[in-house]
């Protein structure tokens, strides 16, 4: 069991600046032996603390600690109130250097914007740091994606070059599709590095067509995800499995009013090291409040 508090701070300044950060505070309560006493351990992590400057419509400069933009999961779905299944994909450490955070600079924006399609890009450099709570490795990388607004289909590729130790390359590709005709989300990622390669695909269907999204049934969402990982050279950090792994997961999300969500999922993992069940039950609650008194006008 692990209660998690993940406060997000966002402070827009003027029309071009934004200061934002997210911290993850969690208490892990576990039982080392089946019949022994419970123990607990506290973890606090600065996930991002960055300054964004919107220099031009096609360029936003980011400085500070940011989520490594490799494929789509790290930037978009690591927030506990957004992800459909609570466990991160097995291939998550590939391209994100295990922890998913970078300290340095990033440039991002829309390279081309047409009615039919949009081209996105992201390029970044992360420095090596051992500062407590801000640990990061030296790396550089980028991501490019094309998005088709009419079909809500996005295809992207990622690259990362680790600029220390073994200087390895990681490459990835992803797909995200939310057809406008049905409340359905289809996503998938592939990632490859010398440590291994793998993929995950996920389909989520919300029953909002049954008497609307606020009906008893309309608040329900079914999720399924399949993953496969083929190991490469041993990962000394232990973040990636040391054997080939397959995992199938099924889950249900129930969206209650007032931003409360219930989540339950079951997964079965298969590997030469031994098969196992993966159960998850979660309750997430998201709320917002202004930190300081100020103007009530929203328009910049």
């Amino acid at each position: 069991m692990q209660p998690i508090l993940a406060p997000v701070f966002a402070a827009p300044v003027g029309n071009r600046w934004l200061f934002e950060s997210r911290v993850d505070l969690r208490e892990l309560i576990f039982q080392p032996a089946r019949s022994g006493p419970y123990q607990h351990q506290f973890f606090d992590t600065i996930e991002y603390a960055q300054v964004d400057y919107n220099a031009a419509p096609w360029l936003t400069i980011v400085a500070g600690r940011f989520l490594t933009p490799f494929n789509m999961y790290n930037e978009r779905f690591t927030a506990v109130w957004i992800r459909n299944l609570q466990d991160a994909p097995i291939i998550f450490p590939v391209g994100t250097r295990t922890n998913g955070y970078s300290d340095g600079f990033m440039a991002r924006g829309v390279l081309l914007s047409r009615k039919e399609y949009e081209l996105y890009y992201t390029a970044y450099f992360s420095t090596f740091t051992t500062i407590n709570k801000l640990e990061s490795g030296r790396s550089a990388g980028g991501r490019a994606a094309i998005f088709f607004p009419s079909t809500r289909l996005e295809l992207g590729v990622s690259y990362q070059r680790l600029l220390q130790d073994q200087r390895t390359n990681s490459v990835g590709a992803y797909l995200s599709w939310q057809p406008g005709s049905v409340p359905l989300a289809l996503r998938g990622e592939y990632a490859h590095s010398p440590l291994g390669q793998g993929y995950w695909i996920e389909g989520a269907y919300r029953f909002s067509r049954f008497r609307g999204p606020d009906s008893v049934l309309g608040r329900l969402q079914a999720v399924g995800r399949a993953q496969q990982f083929v190991h490469g050279t041993p990962d000394l950090t232990g973040a990636l499995p040391s054997t080939n792994v397959q995992r199938a997961e099924f889950g249900w999300n129930y969206y209650l009013p007032h931003e409360v969500r219930l989540n339950a999922s079951y997964g079965r993992e298969f590997s030469p090291a031994g098969d196992r069940n993966v159960w998850n039950f979660a309750v997430t609650y998201r709320f917002l409040f202004p930190m300081f008194p100020g103007r009530s006008q929203a328009q910049p």
């Binding site: 827009p12 049905v182 609307g212 999204p213």
Partner: protein
């Protein structure tokens, strides 16, 4: 046990393919999950633009937040502007939709 593993994977992949087929079989229609927006003081067209933008960009990852005040909406939309690569015009339209 290995056969069971393949069966489970096949089941999930089957679920994925069923989702794809269901999506392909449906005709496009307006968003069913979009948040109904009030129209106090703003034109319906501006709010409709914001709703469409939310459906196209933000709604790909999450549902619309409930009951945002104008100040909260400004901070949230600015943050999403970076994440979702939105333009200034999109930012204004989303603000009108989320906090009319």
């Amino acid at each position: 046990m290995r056969r069971f593993g393949f069966c489970s994977l096949a089941l999930v992949i089957g679920w994925f393919l069923v989702c794809v087929l269901v999506a392909l079989a449906q005709k496009p229609s307006p968003s069913a999950d979009a948040k109904p927006a009030a129209s106090s003081g703003k034109t319906a067209l501006e709010i409709h633009d914001g709703e469409r933008l939310f459906h196209t960009h933000c709604g790909r990852c999450h549902n619309p937040p409930e009951d945002l005040s104008p100040r909260e909406a400004r901070a949230v939309v600015r943050q999403m502007k970076v994440r979702a690569n939105l333009s200034d015009k999109d930012e204004r339209a989303l603000l009108k939709f989320l906090a009319p």
